[in-house]
Amino acid sequence: MAMPEAYITGVGQSEVGVRLTRSPMGLTKDAIVEALADAGLTLAEIDGVASYPGKSHGYLGFSPCGVDEVIEAMGISARWHFGGGEIPAQLSAIAEAANAVRTGQARHVLCFRTVYEAAAMSRPEEFPALRRDTVDGYSQWTAPFFALSAACWVAQYAMRHMHRYGMTREQLAQVALNANRNALLNPAARAITKKPLSLDEYMNARPITSPFCLHDCDRFTDCSTVIIVSAGDALGDVRSTPIRIAASAGKVDRWSWDQAEWMASYATGPDLWAKTDYKPGDVDCVQFYDGFAFFPITWLEALGFCPVGEGHRFIEGGKRIARDGELPLNTAGGQIGAGRLHGFGFAHEAVVQLRGTGGARQIPGDPRVAVATSGGGPLAAALLLAKD
């Protein structure tokens, strides 16, 4: 018996800004209103809500709105809801919503990710920063050595790639240069990317933690992104072009930021292909998590677009990953170019491209298959999206 299908039927996004004053729930509402209008649905038709990671009480800027709060604020009657951080990565909230509609637990699930990290930094009394003086859990194995950012953890994997496989900074730079070119064509990225970036500027930019410079890191952003997931037998309710969630994966063999030989993306990629008849060669564009510029290189390798240890050569010169290249990457600018939307932006942009509504940044032809990913280190989630 064929499994019932799940579709993305609506996408929405609030203003994307830095130090916005509109409240986090206000931004969430803006994204919900846009996604509902896109799908042609009303709030009364929403019967499920999902998010990652749920409200982050210890660091509100990271996730200021809980699933329960959104249900209450928007007056949603939810037959099914889900919010949590202990899932493979951000996009797994959407994968779980897909499972809910496939199994008849809901018809239309509103999935959201709201971030307020830039505003929080400017209003610490209202949105306190993460406490650093005492650490437990996994951070006790990194923070005491002043490895206080994921940049420091990921940089060590990137350094190993340079040592073992010969990756150069010029090759790594292509992720940021590609993000910059695409972001300049994305009206939603105006607060984040304002001018072109040259290779010279990149090479001379302020170092963060080798090999990463400033342009290899995404930037704190205030925004909400909403994805509506609908059951295959509920498509009569919607007006948009539905995009099928053809497969999803999020595999972790060792949950660790430093003990794992390979980041979880490398187990997740093959597991995605094991769940579908599609092949890497069928993919028309990829939207890969780029909290740091090294991640898209790992996703290219993990998903089999090139052999392990060849990702940097795949993107060399930037032509293959450009909008008119063989595998367009991060066509909205990714998080490096368009802000740290934290995962959901990649699903949003995959839907935009598959529907052909990307405007100045739309890739040529009639794209039918896209991959969106989120996460790095022990976090990895991949969605295979198809217009069929």
Partner: protein, 134 residues
């Protein structure tokens, strides 16, 4: 002068690791049944699920698996640049420690450099740092 290092919250699993430096020991949690190590330390062996776990002092030598030269002052007053590294420990297969490489210029640090532990104490916590072996 660097700010204080973030202080691990001690518990029965991690106490021997974070305080062993008082006796000059780098303690790693080992299983008496299968002989393998579990790190981060836990009272249940991650390989065979035995509970016959005990901290054991290891050689404290190893080699640099990978590293990064950190230039960003993540905390006020943090002196940069400095080296964050993953060290694989002699006699402790399948384990790396995230640590700092100290007592040498950052540009002299390299892959596979042999290193040995050196402890830095702060309020009863003994942070295992590593220095190159000449």
């Amino acid at each position: 002068m660097n700010p204080p290092r973030p202080r691990p919250k001690l518990d029965d699993d991690n106490r021997a690791f974070w305080t062993g430096g008082a006796e000059g020991k780098l303690n790693m949690m080992q299983c008496a049944d299968c002989g393998r190590f579990t790190h981060p330390p836990r009272r249940i062996c991650r390989h065979c699920q035995s509970e016959a776990m005990a901290p054991v002092a290891v050689a404290g030598t190893g080699a640099i698996e990978t590293y990064t030269i950190n230039s960003q002052p993540w905390l006020p007053g943090l002196e940069v640049p400095f080296v964050i590294a993953r060290v694989r420990l002699d006699g402790v297969p399948d384990v790396v420690l995230t640590t700092n490489i100290v007592h040498c210029p950052v540009e002299e640090v390299g892959f596979d450099d042999p290193v040995k532990v050196t402890f830095e104490e702060q309020d009863g916590i003994w942070f295992p740092l590593f220095e190159r072996v000449r």
